[in-house]
């Protein structure tokens, strides 16, 4: 059978990736595939991510949006902020619908039914979609190696349904399905599913990376690396949600840096050619987890023991990346060196007086 060769796009990698919050870069395209005017909350991490991601991809792009905030709050009332083709799909269909789009373009270009360079096909799945209900569909798409990029915008909870615990909600995170109480003082008892590592370990032929809105150029470069990789890629992006995390809205980008500096969101890339992790990303400093936790209402109930547990968890993450721990962080994992969160202390005081 005579077939037409599929032409793929190659996007340039930007300089100064680790420059922090300022993401002015003259090399960025001026086009905005994701325009303002949508109905997400002020400071919404996922939508900041959406803008960066789609900007990095450019206009020859198709977006897929499984149910979640980036569908509901973006495309409300038949108005949409997408300047490129976008389709809603079911919350469990993240990988499968995207695979269908990719397969369609492979076949249509090969059979001469569509002419042009193969588009960037990007799925923007929430963590509920990616870590729970749509996990198998994403694993299927990665396994079969469709030429597409699946992004999990990780706000560590089911946000759109009113803040419920997902497999990505951190230990100690308060949600409406993991509220703290006298019997369960820490709220969420389980530690988060290590989704990105699962994806890398199970689909080693894919480009897999973690990123954060705190490092915009790094994030955009990872998007481009994922798109340039011929085959499937998976990107897991920390995207704070002020409604669920309960913080001051201007601090979204700060949190995006702090979470990395505290070791709670390890930044790495999986290199599919070399079949190895790249842990060379270094934040400007390493900090105790309490500095990150105390900015968020969802951790306001934590006791000294819970904070120590989270420090222990963060220390394990640093060690997993082969990074030596400063003395201060080792000490911070000892409950003796932690105090209750202000709200928790206050609650204890109230409990004693009644």
């Amino acid at each position: 059978m005579a077939t037409i060769e599929v032409q793929r796009q190659v996007l340039p990698i930007l300089g100064n990736p680790n420059q922090g919050a300022r993401f002015y870069n003259p090399d960025l395209p001026s086009s905005e595939p994701f325009v303002p005017g949508h109905r997400t909350c002020a400071g919404c991490g996922p939508s900041i991510q959406y803008r960066m991601t789609s900007k990095a991809a450019g206009d020859n792009t198709i977006l897929v949006g499984p149910t979640g905030c980036m569908y509901v709050a973006n495309s409300s009332y038949l108005c949409t902020p997408y300047n490129v083709p976008w389709a809603h799909t079911q919350i469990g269909s993240a990988g499968s619908f995207t695979a269908g789009v990719a397969a369609a373009y492979e076949a249509m270009i090969r059979k001469g039914k569509w002419k042009g360079a193969y588009p960037n096909i990007i799925c923007e799945a929430g963590d509920g979609s990616a870590s729970d209900i749509g996990l198998a569909s994403i694993s299927g798409a990665l396994y079969r190696n469709h030429d597409c990029l699946i992004i999990c915008y990780d706000n560590e909870q089911y946000a759109n349904t009113g803040i419920q615990a997902s497999s990505r909600t951190p230990y100690g995170g308060m949600t409406t399905f993991s509220p703290p109480g006298p019997e369960v003082p820490e709220g969420k008892k389980l530690y988060p599913k290590d989704l990105a590592r699962m994806m890398a370990a199970g689909h080693p032929h894919c480009y897999v990376a973690t990123a954060s809105v705190g490092y915009p150029i790094d994030l955009m470069n990872k998007v481009r690396k994922g798109l340039n990789h011929k085959g499937a890629s998976y990107l897991m992006v920390y995207t704070p949600c002020q409604k669920g995390f309960v913080y001051e809205t201007p601090r979204s980008i700060d949190l995006g840096r702090l979470v990395v500096e505290c070791g709670l969101y390890p930044m790495w890339e999986w290199n599919p050619e070399k079949r190895e992790f790249d842990y060379s990303f270094r934040p400007q400093s390493m900090r105790p987890v309490a500095e990150y936790l105390k900015l968020q209402g969802r951790f306001g109930h934590l006791h000294a023991q819970h904070i120590a547990n989270l420090q222990q968890f963060a220390n394990e993450q640093w060690q997993m990346m082969g990074i030596e721990l400063p003395e201060a962080l080792i000490k911070a994992a000892d409950v003796k060196n932690q105090t209750n969160m202000a709200a928790a202390a206050e609650a204890e005081q109230v409990a004693l007086t009644v």
């Binding site: 059978m1 077939t3 206009d59 020859n60 792009t61 198709i62 897929v64 569908y71 509901v72 495309s75 409300s76 009332y77 038949l78 108005c79 949409t80 997408y82 300047n83 490129v84 083709p85 976008w86 389709a87 809603h88 799909t89 079911q90 469990g92 269909s93 990988g95 499968s96 619908f97 995207t98 695979a99 269908g100 789009v101 397969a103 369609a104 373009y105 492979e106 076949a107 249509m108 090969r110 059979k111 039914k113 569509w114 042009g116 588009p119 198998a136 569909s137 694993s139 299927g140 396994y143 079969r144």
Partner: protein, 401 residues
């Protein structure tokens, strides 16, 4: 017709392979497969065609039926012609996707070879799998043999992809009775198919050159107009369905009544009303009864969605007694039997001359309906005719005297 008949050929294949052949003739672009008996044989045949280079398509082994239908949805939304299929519990595993696919007006095609649902893990054919999705906005009908299955696939693509329709299609056949029994099938000349089935072109695909948004969120008052539009598409498909069947007859030389096929009904007083593969045995049984002087006939429903209400009313009003053969489960339904009874009665409600209607639970579990059972049912119907009244709405055949 200008088409050459030189490359037409007769082959002996089963219903599953006939469906695979139809997908090949339709030059589908994307195929989404997942194994479940009995429809699996269709996907096995397609896998081989792709491996042999006979068909250029993306063949995707999905991770579930939910994924199969989502892949089909994504591919159809992008402008590709898509083929998928399932059986039994597989049809239901994908349930979430049926409404989104018809709601976004994507003409995905799904082949069904029926299988009972669980319990009890039976392989036999019951129509409950596909029928449970019948109100989701898919065009739906049953073939009774392999040739008709082949033809129905081409006809369904042509109807579903018509800009006046744009709806997905479930092209159904009984598991085993049709899917696994070989019979002679005429495969057409590729030129005939080209003449009949133009390339798929959705008006608003996901194409970076003409950005569109599919399926944005809406306010409550924005919902009803969309639902009304989908309902109208279903209604207005009826004229297209008739047109396409005419066109098919002209090009391929086989004429099907799109709605209800009548067999020996001219002077019939009691008729069986049914769909699918058991109609083949019913025809034989009716001939047998006719030779013994019984005025029995058959009305076979070929399209159940959209439901041909007027046509069913007109056809069934000609008779004294109608016996609906269900081959499906409608637990707690109006007849406490299957689901076909209620639709037939609704169609007859406005008739001036309503026949008596009763319902038979036969062919359940994938059992064949044998000659003596057809006699047993005919006797129940004739007794009702004599009495002027039915004994009860639903009889479980084989469980009563």
């Amino acid at each position: 017709m200008a088409t050459a008949t030189a490359t037409k050929k007769k082959v002996r294949i089963n219903g599953c392979v006939a469906s695979a052949q139809a997908a090949k003739y339709a030059d589908v672009d994307v195929i989404a497969a997942y194994p479940i008996r009995p429809y699996t044989a269709t996907m096995m045949a397609l896998a081989q065609m792709v491996a042999n280079g006979e068909l250029d398509a993306e063949y995707i082994v999905a991770d579930s039926e939910h994924s199969q239908l989502s892949i089909a949805h994504g591919a159809s939304s992008s402008g590709a012609r898509v083929f998928t299929g399932s059986s039994g519990v597989g049809v239901q595993f994908a349930y979430e996707l049926y409404s989104p696919i018809s709601g976004s007006r994507m003409p995905v095609q799904m082949m069904i070879a029926d299988r009972t649902l669980d319990p009890p893990g039976d392989f036999g054919s019951e129509h409950t799998d596909a029928l449970s999705t019948r109100d989701m906005g898919w065009l739906m009908g049953w073939a009774c043999d392999a040739q008709e299955a082949f033809d129905n696939h081409l006809i369904a693509y042509r109807i579903g992809e018509d800009r006046r329709v744009l709806l997905p299609q479930m092209v159904c056949q009984d598991g085993f009775f049709v899917s696994h029994i070989t019979s002679d099938v005429e495969l057409p000349d590729a030129g005939q198919v080209k003449e009949f089935l133009p390339p798929y072109k959705h008006p608003y695909p996901l194409d970076p050159r003409h950005p569109v948004s599919h399926g944005p969120q809406i306010m409550p008052e924005q919902g009803p107009p969309l639902q009304l539009e989908r309902a109208r598409a279903m209604e207005e498909s009826m004229a297209v369905i008739e047109e396409v069947h005419d066109e098919f007859a002209k090009i391929f030389g086989r004429r099907y009544d799109p709605w209800v096929e009548e067999f020996m009904t001219d002077d019939a007083e009691v008729v069986f009303f049914m769909q699918g593969g058991h109609a083949v045995t019913a025809r034989f049984a009716i001939q047998h009864m006719r030779e013994r002087g019984l005025k029995v006939g058959l009305a076979r429903l070929r399209t159940i969605r959209p439901y041909p209400t007027e046509r069913v009313k007109d056809v069934l009003s000609k008779f004294k007694v109608v016996g609906v053969i269900e081959t499906n489960m409608g637990l707690g339904s109006p007849s406490s039997g299957g689901v076909l009874y209620a639709d037939a009665c609704a169609a007859l409600y406005e008739s001036e001359k309503r026949p008596l209607v009763m319902s038979f639970m036969a062919g359940m579990g994938g059992e064949a309906i044998v000659l003596k059972e057809f006699y047993w049912m005919a006797e129940k119907m004739m007794a009702a005719q004599k009495r002027g009244k039915i004994e009860k709405r639903t009889h479980w055949v084989g469980f009563e005297e």
